[in-house]
């Protein structure tokens, strides 16, 4: 069991995984409360275009993903605010266009040896030390921002109109939340992969909401569930030679099923 810790790539993957297991469901809780759960999926697909741009320009692909995903996040929010297109349409547009840009760019520069599959589905062997530093630094920024703005973000997520009537700067808070979602996507890209990040932001929240009684409990349970899913997924992927991203998301799904079933078992009085 302990031999997993003798490999430095596994230690990097575990550290990155712990960061992802905390921040993805944390952000996911606010997105679900805001009925905006699908944005993580759309941004994840856009981040793949950023990876491709990073590769083409010879930059760290994660930095390329960070810049492009943040830019796309603001454009999506602008479209949503302007109401010229509905939120679902904006998300669908970016979801498919992001992947299209990635595929075309990688095809154009086929001389570059890039393992796009590892960004699509995640890979525990590809987390470099510089990736790990980027992931941990961004995770700290996300946690600190949520720590400071927890109540304001929660109020805006639950009822934007009332929050605005109460004097909160909801436009700015929405931009902060979407920025955090973009950063979370990039943080998760290496381990979970662009096609599976959406599930890690939503499934732990769905599991937590089956058993939680308050919003605060939902946040805590979702983070616990996300952490458990990442750790179970990473260990099983190591010992059973499975794709890490898929194993993590399936673990989250299993935890949701357990929460769903146990919450429906009548308690004895």
């Amino acid at each position: 069991m302990i031999d997993i810790f003798t490999y430095s790539f596994m230690i990097r993957a575990l550290l990155a995984g712990v960061a992802i297991g905390i921040v993805a469901p944390l952000i996911g809780t606010f997105l679900v409360a805001k009925r905006y759960a699908l944005i993580a999926d759309s941004l994840a697909h856009v981040s793949l275009a950023g990876v491709a741009i990073g590769v083409v320009l010879g930059l760290n692909p994660l930095l390329g993903a960070l810049v492009v995903t943040i830019a796309a996040a603001f454009v999506i929010e602008k479209l949503r605010e302007g109401r010229r297109v509905t939120a679902e349409v904006a998300l669908a547009m970016f979801l498919s266009s992001g992947l299209a840009v990635a595929v075309v760019l990688i095809g154009l520069v086929h001389r570059v040896n890039v393992d796009l599959l590892s960004y699509l589905f995640g890979s525990i062997t590809t987390v470099t030390t510089s990736d790990l530093w980027i992931i941990l630094s961004l995770a700290v920024v996300i946690l600190a921002t949520i720590g400071v703005l927890y109540k304001q973000l929660a109020y805006t997520a639950f009822d934007e109109e009332q929050a605005r009537a109460g004097g909160l700067r909801t436009k700015l808070l929405n931009q902060v939340l979407i920025l955090l979602a973009a950063v979370t996507v990039v943080v998760s890209l290496r381990i979970v992969g662009g096609l599976l990040i959406g599930a890690l932001t939503v499934l732990p929240v769905a599991a937590a909401s089956q058993v939680a009684k308050s919003f605060r409990q939902t946040v805590v349970y979702a983070v616990g569930c996300g952490l458990a899913a990442v750790l179970i997924g990473l260990f099983t992927s190591y010992y059973l030679n499975l794709a890490a991203g898929g194993a993590i998301v399936l673990s989250a799904l299993l935890l949701f099923v357990i929460a769903f079933v146990t919450s429906r078992i009548p308690t004895q009085r």
């Binding site: 109540k151 639950f158 929050a163 909401s209 009684k213």
Partner: protein, 241 residues
């Protein structure tokens, strides 16, 4: 009339090209209990949204305590209970205490303010209960507590009794009257329930794109403004309280 705390000066508003409010002039003084009535689509909710700064007038000015509402910083002075607050459909669990706590954001001694607001509506014992487990009437009280937690001077309610059963409605109107009389809150209540409103409020505002009537409920009934507003005759039952 004392110095008004809320003023609509020649306010017009249209959604795209469809005019909803046209040249509305209105003044509300501190301590008044104002009922806002009018037909569906007549501009009641738009009036409230302009008052809350959620919409900006295309023409005219909305002033609160003498300042333009759009730039007014002490928004906590206006508490707001929105339409259908008593049938909330939140995606995630949230407790009574958490909802009321949102109202106290930025208020000094927020915890104390939440506790007092919950006690006022007799819901302190339910602070840790999930909101979804409460009835429509109880949820409505929670949203009043949330509005009170911001320590407001004005309470704005938009169709507050929709989805609330008749018994809870009576209790609700008593609570609002008490807030007006004992706490001195200025109340502005939009309602479709004209019979109840004319019996409860001290001043009536009737909106049908334009300001049709602004004055005492008694004069409204005697001068048969209802026919002007709805184009039909109607009888009122005055309860005399």
């Amino acid at each position: 009339m004392q110095q008004p705390i809320i003023q609509f000066q020649d306010v017009s508003f249209a959604y795209q090209r469809e005019a909803v409010l046209a040249r509305v002039n209105l003044a509300i003084a501190a301590g008044e209990y104002v009922g806002v009535i009018g037909p569906n689509g007549g501009g009641k909710t738009t009036l409230i949204k302009l008052l809350l700064g959620l919409l900006a007038p295309q023409q005219g000015r909305v002033l609160v305590w003498g300042e333009e509402v759009q730039t007014f910083r002490s928004r906590h002075k206006i508490g707001y209970v929105p339409q259908r607050a008593g049938s909330s459909d939140f995606r995630l669990p949230v407790t009574v205490g958490e909802i009321v706590g949102f109202g106290a954001l930025g208020v000094p001694a927020a915890e104390q303010s939440v506790a007092q607001a919950l006690a006022y509506v007799d819901m302190a014992h339910l602070a840790s209960r999930p909101l979804a487990e409460l009835s429509g009437g109880q949820q409505q009280k929670v949203f009043i507590a949330k509005a009170l937690a911001s320590q407001p001077e004005v309470l704005v309610l938009d169709e507050p009794t929709v989805g609330v059963d008749v018994r809870a409605q009576d209790e609700f109107y008593q609570l609002i009257a008490d807030l007006n009389k004992t706490k001195g809150l200025t109340i502005i209540m939009v309602s479709h329930d004209i019979d109840v409103v004319v019996n409860e409020v001290s001043k009536l505002v009737c909106i049908n794109e334009e300001l049709v009537y602004h004055g005492r409920p008694k004069d409204f009934i005697e001068k048969d403004y209802l026919a002007k507003l709805y184009g039909k005759t109607r009888r009122f039952i005055l309860h005399g309280h």
